[in-house]
Subunit: 209 residues, 2 copies
DNA sequence: CGTGGCATTGATGTGGCTCAACGATAGTGG
DNA sequence: CCACTATCGTTGAGCCACATCAATGCCACG
């Protein structure tokens, strides 16, 4: 089994598991928690290029270097594999490679969709799109109650991290959130919590249907 | 052989091979030419999410729908496969799936790098980064002469398409190009041609080393 | 009761967008 | 071969969405 070459590791919120540009020596499966993938410019501007949840895969198999840093957004637990061993194991198990291929194709579609947001959407649309997607993702993993209107969830990201994901500044994110709150579309009970009150209005804000 | 289920097809510049949201019924290999992958918002803003060159793969295997339109930027030739047949063939040929996985992982890295550009870079940095990458890519496929300073190439994209790729407007792209020209970093002999005169200065403009 | 890290809010600045005019080039038909 | 036209690209003027700079509020922690 694959488990023989993996080991479970706890990761604390804020801890970085892999660094952009490092030799790719580890890959992993997320067991629990939320982590971010990010890149930075030389002068320190950061962009979050992906957010991963339980059952997602992280790291770069079949490649020399890791292109993106991986940092825990919440306390997390992952199953780490040495890359070389994983690569070998994968090559001998087509079913695993097939599964990995499907995941990677999905991630690619998601990344490309996000490019539309970063390249063409306004700040309001970005924030609304983000909140809807986050609600969706967290509903998937929590298997929370019905879709009927009011959905509440806790953001795994700080305002700064939301800004880094959306290609905005912290102030703009904050202002867009208060705008949505004042419009009665969402509520913000505390720093991390969000309640989507009007999901139809929200979709309109996001610039979809 | 895989060739048995594929057929060669010529595609004219401007012709769209697949439409965003369509059922994924075809996949293909690029034999010759350059094509774009793109998405749009409901109100018509467009974002180019990828540019593919000879030997690249297009389409969405193992998925119900195509997330992005595919349009020829130059006259092109591709080898088309019915998706269902390709999927079956791939499942039975782990080596093909392995190759596809490696390509897809590379594409994902590239897409994520592009997210940094779209989310965090200035117009000047975007244009410079684009020109450097294009020079690189075209040098790879043409196997053109030495790296020594002056590189000339023809853009496969119009100004509008560059804008759609970089998340800018056509005017801003134009202004950045004239700025680089006036700074003596590039030359623009005609609409499509670019000569990089000072590749070091160019890298500085791109916001790298 | 401070102290430090996040978040909100306000005031001001600016990079890139918008709107508009003009110029260059390629394709077309006489 | 040249005028005519459509398309694409460049340039300019003004504006606006978002960034920047700065002050204040809110908790959680010692």
């Amino acid at each position: 089994m694959l488990n023989r070459i993996g080991r479970r590791v706890d990761v604390q919120r804020g801890q970085t598991l892999m660094w952009e540009g490092d030799d790719s020596s580890l890959v992993a499966n997320v067991i629990d928690g939320v982590l971010k993938l990010s890149t930075s410019t030389a002068d320190g501007r950061e962009q979050i290029v992906g957010v991963v949840y339980p059952s997602d895969f992280i790291g770069r198999p079949f490649g020399e270097t890791t292109q993106h840093s991986v940092t825990a957004l919440s306390d997390a637990r992952v199953c780490l594999f040495p890359r070389a061993a994983f690569d070998n194991f994968a090559r001998e198990h087509p079913q695993l490679e097939h599964k990995l291929l499907k995941r990677t194709l999905n991630e690619l579609d998601r990344a490309r969709d996000w490019m539309l947001l970063l390249g063409r959407k306004s700040a309001g649309e970005r924030v609304a799109t983000f909140l809807l997607e986050m609600a969706q993702r967290l509903a998937d993993s929590t298997c929370g109650g019905g879709e009927g209107s009011a959905q509440r969830f806790d953001l795994p990201l700080s305002r700064q991290q939301m800004a880094d994901l959306l290609g905005l500044t912290i102030e703009t994110v904050s202002r867009q959130l208060t705008r949505l709150r004042q419009a009665g579309i969402i509520d913000l009970p505390d720093r991390r919590a969000v309640i989507i009150l009007e999901s139809e209005a929200m979709k309109a804000e996001a610039g979809n249907g």
